[in-house]
Structures are given as C-alpha cells and as structure tokens.
C-alpha cells in the first residue's frame, strides 16, 4: 500500500481550526477544467489521456503551491487505497471505479488537490477546516491562474469554462460546506430548512457529496448553477445562506436546551460512554455517536473531546482507513474490533480532562 504517509497524518482540513468549526466541518471549492485540444475524458483515447496527465504534471511542477504535491495514478493503487482516498474526500467514487489512466495530485496537508481525467480533465480542489469559503476560493483561484498560464483551457467567452457535462459549464465551480445540524434534525425543522436551501438554488447532498447518503446529521450544501453568476457572487451567496443556517441551528439548539437540557446531556454522555468503552463498533455507529458528542462540544459541555479529536474519530474509523492502519485487508468483523480500539485510543490520547474528569 502506497498511502501510509497520508494515512499516518491527519489532513489540515480536519484539524478543527477555522471559524465555526464546531458546526461546519469543512469547506471545499472545486473547479472543473479541460484542455482545449483534447476530447473530454469519456471520448478521449488512452494516449490522449496520457497527454493530459503529462501536461498537467508539467504545469503543476511550475506552480509554487503545488510543487510539493505527489502524483498517484489509480492503476498503481489497490481497491482499499482508492477507497481510502474516497473516504478522505480526495477523489470521487467515479475516479476510483474506473480503470483508465486517471490519477490524483495532492499536497502533503491535503489542502489542495487535483483529480486528473475524471469526468473533466482536471478537477482542482481546495479543502479547508471550518467555514472558510473565501480563503478556499482565493487559494484555488490563484492556483488555477498559475496553471492556466501553462495549460490551454477549453474556454468560450460567452459560455465560460467548457465542461463535459453542461451542468458545470461557466465557472466550473462547485463550492460547498459540510455542515453538522443536529438541533435542526432533532427539532424536526430540517425539512423546512432544506426546502429553503433548494429554493434559493443551492443543493443539499450527503457526507461524500453527489449521490451519497446523509449520515450523522451532516449535510453538504453547495451551489447548483455555474452559469450567469461570477465565482465571487456564488461564494458570497453560499456564505450568506450558510450563515443563516448556522443561526437557525443555534436558535434550535437554544430551544432544545430550554426544554430538555438534562435529557440532551444524558444522550450526549451516553454516546460518549459507548465510544469510550465499546469493544466492537460499526462505522455507522461511530458516525452517529460521534455526531452526538460533536453536538455536546458545540453546546460547550466540558470534559468531552476536542473538535479535532472528533474529526479524527470520524475520518480515521472508516473502513479503508482502519485497514490501512492495520496494514492489511480485514473482514468486517475484524474491522469492527480494531475500530473500537482505534476510537478508544484516540479519545484516550486527547481526552482534555484526563487527569481530572470533572
């Protein structure tokens, strides 16, 4: 397995820093780009894909922010490795599943990455911890400008950046926040909020983006359209809506506490207790329980884990992560045992009040 380095570190986007990190897990901005002279990936011949790969690599080597990136082609990776990258939000299922010449470029802290020969030739991504849309946009914008001096992007003056799918044409940008909304779910207001989000032209997706399941009270909110608005307008629009959602979540939280503080604290501490002491645990259970604990952290209940630790618990206990940590493929039953160990170790090491539990 080639990914021991990535597996041993925790991406910068998971360090729990950044504004509103107890509600917004992460911010992502991605740009879709294609090379003018090559057919889109699904129509390109293998040697054309190789040409795209080498053009991108050569442009990347001239781009300061990407100088330290490593290149991983999907062919050299095992299925578990690929799954690991999906779990790490670095590649899509689509990139992982396909046998053609496709790959990932990623800098060591994972803040910037690029998928090569996915649906579009190039999918640039900036990933940041917490609610940082503007800075994520600025960093990927700079990189895009630098790459654009070298690469001949497919672009038309009136339609913007040309993409394989017309849903991305224009800015080619998808900006998103991964947001944790337990109070809105508990108070059953989430349906109305999600409806409102759709009405202003934004999309709601699950934990791993397009086509994924909603789990652990996490929602990914992103812009739906890419034509007619500038990148800045899109980012600002999403920022405004996200701020409103954070406010709604905070209000719902206050209502909950007023009505049922003890019951909620009980639920949170029981979840913490299970995480802290279980010996066999499924991935889904970790997601749900750590969501409850995260809620406790947002409520400023002392003695629970830090946001960073919860991020680690959430990400490092996913199936491929557990197998990479073990250094071998494991059956689900074995994974559930090792996962419980990992969770206990993470909570142990990071328990803020380990010496004095009260």
């Amino acid at each position: 397995m080639k990914l021991t380095n990535l597996a041993a570190h925790l991406g910068g986007w998971l360090d729990g820093s950044g504004p509103a990190a107890d509600i917004v897990l992460s911010t992502r901005v991605r740009l879709a780009r294609n090379l003018r002279e090559v057919p889109f990936t699904h129509r390109a011949r293998e040697e054309q894909l190789a040409m795209v790969y080498s053009s991108v690599l050569s442009a990347v080597r001239k781009t300061p922010a990407l100088m330290s990136s490593s290149s991983l082609t999907m062919r050299e990776l095992t299925p578990v490795d690929r799954q690991f990258l999906v779990e790490r939000h670095l590649i899509s299922h689509d990139l992982a599943d396909n046998g053609r010449l496709r790959g990932l470029l990623v800098v060591p802290d994972e803040s910037v990455s690029a998928m090569v020969n996915e649906e579009d030739h190039l999918r640039l991504q900036a990933l940041a911890s917490g609610f940082q849309l503007r800075s994520a946009w600025e960093s990927i914008n700079t990189i895009d400008d630098e790459l654009g001096q070298d690469l001949d992007y497919a672009f038309s003056e009136d339609l913007g950046y040309l993409t394989a799918c017309p849903t991305n044409v224009g800015t080619g940008m998808r900006a998103s926040v991964l947001i944790h909304l337990p109070s809105l779910v508990l108070t059953k207001q989430i349906g109305r909020v999600l409806q409102g989000i759709n009405q202003v032209g934004l999309a709601v997706r699950g934990f791993y983006g397009e086509g994924s399941q909603i789990m652990g009270n996490f929602f990914q909110i992103s812009n739906q359209t890419t034509l007619g608005q500038s990148e800045k307008e899109t980012v600002e629009g999403l920022e405004r809506v996200t701020r409103q959602i954070i406010e709604a979540e905070t209000r719902a939280r206050e209502e909950l506490l007023k009505d049922a503080r003890v019951q909620i604290e009980d639920k949170i501490w029981r979840a913490y207790g299970t995480l802290r002491h279980s010996r066999v645990i499924s991935s889904q259970e970790v997601v749900n329980l750590s969501s409850a604990v995260r809620f406790g952290v947002a409520l400023a209940i002392p003695g629970l884990a830090s946001v960073r630790t919860l991020n680690e618990v959430l990400i490092r206990t996913q199936p491929a992560h557990v197998q990479l940590a073990a250094g071998k493929e494991l059956e689900q039953r074995e994974r559930n045992v090792l996962r419980a160990e990992l969770v206990r170790a993470l909570l142990d090491a990071n328990e803020p009040d380990a010496v004095n539990p009260n």
């Binding site: 129509r43 992007y153 394989a164 799918c165 032209g201 086509g211 359209t225 034509l227 990148e231």
Partner: protein, 176 residues
Amino acid sequence: MQCQFCGKRPAVVHFTQIENQKKSEYHVCEKCAEERGFHTSLNKSKFSVGDLLAGMVDQTGGSEESKLGRVRCPRCHMVYSTFKESGRLGCSECYETFRAQLKPLLRRIHGSTRHSGKSPIKDSARVALRREIQRLHEDMQKAIEHEEFETAARLRDQIRSIETSGGAKGEAETRG
C-alpha cells in the same frame, strides 16, 4: 398523467425543482425514476445528472428533433443524439456545434446562458476588452434612447479608440 420521459407508463413519482425562482415539475413513472436514479432514499443511488439532462433534452419533440439529433461535431464526430443519451458532450467544440440545441437546455439548468465569471489568463485580456466594448455599446444605446446624443457620441469615440489601439494591444498581450 403519463411519465414525461417514456410517455407510456403512468407517472407515480412527482417532484418539483425550484431554482432561481424558476419552477420545474417532474412527473415520472416508477421504471424511469429507477433508471434515472430518482430513488426516495439517497443511499448510493448512482443518481446521474446525465440521465436527468437526457430527459430534459427529450422534451423538444417532432421531426425537427430527429434532424437535430443527426448533427455531428466536426472535431470529435459525436452526434447530438449521443449527447441526449449520455448527458456528456464530446469535446469543447461540441458547445459550438450544438449551440442552438444547448441554449434552451442551459437556460433550464442555470437560468442563464452567459458566463460572467473569470477567464483564463491567456484569454482574459481579450475577454475584458470585448466585455468593455459590449458594455459601452449598451450604454450608448441607452443614451440614444434617452436622446442624450452628446453622451452617445462620446461613447462611440471611446469604443472606436479601444477597438483600434486597445484591441490590437489586447491581442498582442494574449499572444505574448
């Protein structure tokens, strides 16, 4: 009510998509809903935007449609009907080839057919210039409508001077 995709089976899945204050309603039969990934649960539904697009494109019917379907991109040789199946265009040139067919589709998806975001460094000097000229043209038109002829004349001079000196400079910059 019949399914708007196959037009044969009764529509049992109904949903509304609202975007930019524009409402689109979908009425789909169970089979098409499943094929196109409109599952009630989000559980790995493999929802494909391409499929949805293909459905949207299909709404324009008639003999005109079959003619358009045979239009072929001179660069990648993809025919338009292939796009209708896959929801993916073949190459950047396809946008030019299928411009007429794509316009209404883009309007439906994005509520707009005009890019107003950034442009690549290589294109940006040229684009900025053309946009500036376009803006001046619009201003000039407005001035004429309001019978502000002096303003209009000034704007026209401005456009001319950009087109001659600035235009050449912009081209040179992009080439360099």
